[in-house]
């Protein structure tokens, strides 16, 4: 799952003068960021598996059609992540969405 990359890792080093509470908080924040990315990855993988793989599982390999479907599906999914993010940002900026 190398896709998630290093998280920068700042804060975990536990430098001098940092209290336990601060360290706990930094850990919690890194954890949120990480969980968000992992959750996003898992949902993308699941959704595109459902959209692109035939359910009979006649072969163990991805065929050409499935492979290009996965690439396009990932790309489109990413685009939707961006769209929804912008819309949520806009809704947040306007105060609230309570109708």
């Amino acid at each position: 799952m190398s896709a998630f990359g290093p998280l920068g890792g700042g804060g975990n080093g536990g430098g001098a003068g940092i209290t336990d509470a601060q360290r706990l908080k930094a850990l919690e924040m890194a954890r949120n960021e990480m969980e968000y990315r992992v959750d996003l990855f898992n949902r993308l993988a699941q959704t595109c598996f459902e959209k692109c793989s035939e359910k009979r599982y006649k072969e163990a390999d991805l065929n050409v059609g499935e492979t290009s479907c996965v690439d396009r599906c990932s790309s489109k999914y990413w685009q939707v992540v961006g769209m929804v993010g912008q819309m949520l940002g806009a809704a947040g900026a306007n105060g609230n969405v309570q109708q």
Partner: protein, 74 residues
């Protein structure tokens, strides 16, 4: 606790993306959204946000009204 709220919002965000993608995107001939898919995602997102806001109001009321409903005792 603050961090938890952030985390839950992120979960809702991911759930919203997954739902609207699943309901609106059905073709994989190109690697960008078709015009109608994009419009569908947009309406789906707005509708879900309005829906959540409404449920949120009801949830608060019901929570108030009957504060005895809680998790089952262990």
């Amino acid at each position: 606790i603050d961090e938890m709220q952030t985390r839950d919002s992120l979960k809702m965000y991911n759930g919203l993306v997954q739902r609207c993608f699943a309901d609106c995107v059905h073709t994989f001939r190109r690697k960008t959204l078709e015009k109608d898919e994009e419009a569908c995602v947009s309406r789906c997102t707005q509708k879900f946000l309005k829906h959540s806001a409404r449920v949120s109001l009801r949830f608060a009321e019901l929570n108030q009204q009957q504060s005895t409903v809680g998790p089952p005792q262990q």
